[in-house]
Symmetry: C2
Subunit: 393 residues, 2 copies
């Protein structure tokens, strides 16, 4: 329980910086580029060998975003822009249907495999092409970004369209993921938007997340509530996704920081710490993937597994919370999650991080990337943690 | 490694009979009937308390089937017919949309929650109402059964209809589940069908399963192949579901027995034993849930878990294989799986069986029923094993 001093912060900062620049980015630069057909391989085994060649739109766009973002914010390295361009060109050519909606997945050569049923494909496309347009000064990329952003706004009240299997009216639900991604996306698109669109969307998102989705009794974030913010006693209504709740809270802290809203920052820090107390596995360590707010058995069989993104998003939240409030509990928890994560997920021998551990913290899948894990959460978190730590030095 | 003698078979027969009649059936009779709104609760915790009231059509129909089947084949107990009637009445009233397609789930009072996107809802309805019509001699039930059977035949080439998210043409796949269920269903509907429809469907199913879905190099059943039976190197094309493959093999043995096809029986036994050698966890025991035929990381995070239905279907396959061929390896494996299952899944203290164990065989979800586990695999397997053992006495 020792709040950070300057030396400690500097030591951690160097660790995160070094892992980002000397381990994780080179892993993707060396192994993920498809030199034959364009785009990226994301299904990479422990040492970076490709075990599947399908191309998942979320992950393709997230890698374009990541390299463009680092080019824009960290250093204008030509090689990073080239990696982003490699994906952006493949995606511009193959990623959308004739109406401009983003497919969910393509095969190696870019033929569509799964239809545009998923609004998040468009979200990540808007984020990717916005950052890439800023990096490349490519006017076409700007058009692609704005088109994808338009898709999201048009589809957000009915994200799955014809693929929605719920019967209308019996049980209406809304998901935390939608306001979350909309806030994140709007921040990313800021430089392309007009007037006070940004502030308006941020304020309404904050209100929705912290009122409708926050369970005031438990102090936890719910994944699904009724459209007017009521709790429901059904699988979806009982579901807790601690990592997602914590990720939402660092978005709130970030917005609070921009808007100068100290009460919001304080509340987001409190909820983060509360989720951690609730979702930390006291027996084996690590944060559970899914829980049920009434303690019923969750539907998700993977509920007790320990996932990389849950833990790295938590590191970001705790450092941001510590920097903004100085709450020593943030620092204490940061060191706990840091030790857990670096000793189990990180793989300095072969590079990048494992993604999936079982409850005991043993490697469950011997991979560095797959259908859902690409070049995104690990490097983003390493970058954001490093930046927070620099501000503590 | 001692093939069964009469005394051993009798001892096991009594164990399976007793568990069925004194433990598992009473568990569902005591805990699952919704006396207020009709139908069954299936989300039951370890001791049978209801933790969720939604009604999943697969499981509702499977319970109607199970109690009707036992009434028809084992003993005409009035109380069993009453349990079946309790579900059949609720389902007749609430289970279908105006076109007669079966919803996927309803809330407690019977209002639809999830649309009829799933052809297996219609399959299980046809099976349930066919057995129930036979038990109750209810003409309306016969009509319901034939209508559901018609839905299956109409939709089998495009089972998901508008909800199918795959892009047409890029990668066509067919699933083992479809011919499997069609064979099973046709056997169940036999008494309602005309002429040689049964024999024709059985023969074409056998040909499809044992030619298109059997990987001749590995001797394993594949879950997905191209429409003309070719292997594909993608997640779906590499997927192995050992429990499903073994369940398919006892269907094949059963059909082989009806058709007097000894070569088919022999082949199904060989494949069963081969799947077991491949999918048995040498470290902790039990049969894996999912594997990848090329050893790549599976997409399913629950791949290493040990599921009740996988193990009880394997018990059926091994006893049927032993009875039909006398192969001592079937008996040896039967005793291994029997010991594994009864010491971990069975819960004589509170009744019924746990459904989900982690890789080490520890209880993962403290439940006896949920969204996918109801009154079906355990009592069906106990009944079928008992009957096979009686024939060995």
């Amino acid at each position: 329980m020792h709040p950070a001093n300057v030396q400690t912060a500097a030591r951690y900062a160097e660790q995160y910086q070094r892992a980002l620049l000397n381990d994780v980015l080179p892993f993707w630069e060396n192994h993920s580029l498809d030199r034959t057909h364009g785009g990226y391989f994301t299904c990479l085994d422990r040492s970076g060998q490709v075990y599947d060649t399908d191309k998942f739109i979320w992950l393709q766009n997230r890698q374009v975003w990541l390299f463009s973002m680092l080019y824009n914010r960290l250093e204008q390295r030509e090689s990073w822009l080239k990696v982003a361009e490699h994906g952006a060109e493949f995606l511009s050519e193959h990623g959308r249907d004739p109406e401009g909606n983003w497919y969910f997945s393509l095969n190696q050569t870019g033929q569509p495999l799964i239809q545009p049923y998923n609004i998040f494909s468009d979200c990540f496309a808007a984020m990717a092409f916005s950052q890439y347009a800023l990096a490349s000064q490519d006017e076409t990329a700007k058009v692609v970004a704005l088109q994808a952003y338009g898709n999201v706004l048009r589809r957000k009240s009915n994200p799955k369209g014809q693929y929605d299997k719920s019967f209308p009216g019996t049980r209406s639900l809304k998901s935390l993921a939608v306001p979350m991604i909309l806030a994140n996306l709007t921040l990313e698109m800021d430089w392309l938007l007009e007037g006070d669109q940004l502030t308006n969307i941020l304020k309404s998102t904050v209100a929705e997340v912290m009122t409708d989705f926050l369970d005031p009794d438990l102090g936890l974030m719910l994944e699904h509530v009724t459209p007017d913010g009521k709790k429901l006693d059904c699988y979806e209504g009982r579901l807790l996704n601690p990592g997602h709740g914590i990720e939402a809270m660092w978005f709130m802290m970030d917005i609070g920081d921009r808007l100068g809203d100290k009460a919001l920052i304080q509340q987001a820090v409190d909820v983060t710490l509360n989720i951690l107390e609730y979702a930390w596995d006291p027996e084996y360590g690590g944060i559970y993937y899914f829980m049920d707010r009434l303690g019923a058995p969750p539907q998700q069989l993977e509920w007790d597994q320990k996932l990389w993104w849950v833990h790295v998003e938590t590191l970001v939240a705790l450092l941001m919370g510590y920097r903004l409030t100085g709450n020593p509990k943030c620092w204490e928890w940061f060191e706990t999650i840091h030790d857990y994560s670096w000793s189990r997920f990180a793989d300095p021998e072969k590079g990048e991080w494992f993604g999936y551990l079982n409850r005991r913290g043993e490697v469950l899948l011997n991979l560095k990337g797959g259908k859902w894990k690409g070049c995104f959460h690990v490097p983003r978190a390493l970058y954001l943690c490093w930046q927070q730590l620099e501000l503590l030095k």
